[in-house]
């Protein structure tokens, strides 16, 4: 492994090199979406300026180049997750992927009275799709409660499993608190009772290597834009046998083997779930984004992010009235906090004036915020390109904002 050179990394992210409100931008909204290295941006431009064409079935040169690049991205992703090519479905994002599973596997297999277990930490995208199926098919959703430190109450999980749920759907990492959930344990216990397991990896893929075979989950979903790739593209991994047994979702070109005015038959995997012209450019660029993280190494990225997170967490405690939300032992580079008496929106607004971009609000986990009895949090999250210098600026900015508001 080469040395982790933060300068060389930042050179690849020109967006970071700008002033916001006359201050250097400190971008700490990475859990919402991280920035894209030049390699990814150039990959998109290069596609459009040299080999764009609609893919598959095209007998001409550009169509061939575009198809090869797109399918090559699928292979990169498959290798990265330790999956087979046919198990990698291109979606438009995590939300799209979860809805795909809910509307196909879910509507088919979840029957009246069946139970679905999700965690209290879930993003709306891993909650609402299940509420929709549950309402349609008459299922019951059980919630694994969240303890005060932001970890899941695994004792209750064990009890919920006794009710023999058909599905367990949890995130690997909480977007609001950064909690890393024990998905190994969650999956193996669910497998013991033959429950199907979906893992929402949106917040995990930019921090951890993921081996779906070893995890043994049935579905794994993530978004390109959270792993230094473009918006509008995502991945659904599914075990081959399960994908094969699932009905198709979107109908249209490409997902069919044969069509008459009366009926259609479906194409083989993965195309069965990829109706219409796909997001070719961003699919190719997602492959490039994965090569980017692998070039740095996810372990190296995580070590760097851990240093930033630990430093920032300690120094935040210097701020009077500081209240950290989510203090699990295992966390990614997310710090959610509140300051006594101050509204997150006010703090966020002043941080923005100081050039520091954080997110405030419920982070699309409204039920979690209600369970914790808070209106939302201020959330700072670090990526591979953030620096200790930026941690300093962030801390000073929080202090300044806190002063102005008190």
């Amino acid at each position: 492994m080469t040395e982790y050179s933060i300068e060389r990394i930042r050179e690849q992210f020109p967006i970071l090199n700008q002033q916001v409100n006359n201050r250097p931008l400190v971008y700490l909204d990475n859990a919402a979406s991280n920035q894209k290295p030049n390699a990814v941006v150039d990959c998109i431009s290069n596609y459009y300026t040299s080999y764009h064409a609609n893919i598959h079935r095209g007998a001409h040169h550009l169509a061939q180049l575009a198809t090869e690049a797109y399918e090559n991205a699928r292979t990169i992703i498959a290798n990265h997750l330790n999956a087979h090519r046919e198990e990698i479905i291109f979606t438009y994002g995590t939300t799209d992927g979860i809805n795909l599973v809910a509307q196909t596997w879910g509507r088919k297999n979840l029957k009246q009275g069946d139970r679905i277990v999700i965690s209290g930490l879930e993003h709306h995208s891993n909650l609402v799709p299940w509420q929709m199926v549950a309402e349609e098919n008459g299922c019951i959703i059980d919630i694994i409660p969240v303890l005060s430190d932001g970890t899941l109450d695994m004792a209750v999980y064990d009890q919920l499993l006794e009710k023999k749920p058909k599905l367990v759907a949890v995130n690997q990492v909480s977007n609001s608190l950064g909690t890393v959930n024990p998905i190994g344990e969650i999956i193996s216990k669910a497998k013991n009772i033959n429950a199907c397991v979906l893992i929402d990896g949106a917040q995990a893929v930019s921090h951890f290597e993921v081996d779906v075979k070893q995890l043994d989950c049935d579905f794994y979903v993530f978004s390109g834009h959270k792993i230094y790739g473009p918006t509008g593209i995502g991945v659904l991994y599914g075990k081959k046998a399960i994908l094969e047994a699932m009905p198709a979702w979107r109908g249209g070109g490409e997902m069919i083997k044969s069509v008459s005015y009366q009926s259609f038959s479906v194409n083989e995997l993965p195309y069965k779930f990829e109706a219409g012209t796909p997001n070719i450019a961003d699919g190719i660029a997602l492959g490039r984004a994965i090569e980017f993280v692998n070039s740095l190494g996810l372990n190296a990225i995580r070590a760097h992010e851990n240093l930033l997170t630990k430093t920032a967490t300690q120094r935040l405690l210097e701020v009077p009235g500081m209240r950290l939300i989510g203090t699990a032992a295992e966390k990614t580079s997310v710090i959610s906090f509140l300051i006594d008496g101050l509204h997150p929106y006010d703090v966020g607004t002043l941080l923005d004036q100081l050039g520091v971009a954080v997110r405030t609000g419920h982070h699309c986990t409204e039920p979690l915020m209600n369970a914790l009895g808070i209106p939302g949090t201020i959330r700072a999250s670090f990526a591979c390109y953030n620096t200790l210098k930026e941690v300093d600026i962030f801390i000073e900015a929080v202090k300044k904002a806190s002063q102005m508001l008190s």
Binding site: N21, H343, P344, Y345, D346, L350, T360, H362, M404, L405
Partner: protein
């Protein structure tokens, strides 16, 4: 004073500030000074829910024919912005409120707080103020 004169007054006030910090300190001050909305009006009925901060708004038609607003927010900067909105629009004739162009927000460099993307409830509050005014006006004419 007309709505326009009140806007000018605020613009002049803000012209005194050298930097954003003074400006925000002033807004925070205004927020703190905003008369408390009476508890009976701080109800779920009167809530305007932004994602980021919540706003309560109450409107009543006074005998003098002007609309009187009281409001509150859980966020202090939002509250400061509200204070200015009320200063400009409260106790004015409903038709003037309904047709008011709140250009002062732009001119004091705070238009971002009225962006729909902030979802702090302010934009909806202004819509709601105008809506009340139209309703009162219709009732008057009816």
């Amino acid at each position: 004073m007309t709505i326009e004169q009140r806007q000018q007054e605020i613009i002049e006030e803000f012209a005194l500030f050298d930097d954003w910090m003074q400006k925000y300190e002033h807004i925070i001050e205004l927020g703190k000074e905003l008369p408390v909305i009476s508890a009976e009006y701080k109800t779920d009925d009167n809530i305007i829910k932004g994602c980021q901060s919540r706003v309560w708004l109450h409107a009543e038609m006074l005998n003098s024919g002007v609309v009187h607003f009281t409001a509150d927010s859980d966020a202090i900067i939002t509250k400061g912005m509200i204070a200015m909105m009320i200063r400009v629009l409260s106790d004015q004739a409903p038709e003037d409120i309904a047709s008011a162009d709140l250009h002062f927000v732009n001119e004091i460099g705070l238009h971002q707080h009225l962006s729909p993307t902030r979802s702090n409830g302010l934009l909806s509050m202004i819509k709601q103020m105008k809506f009340y005014s139209l309703a009162f006006q219709a009732k008057n004419n009816g």
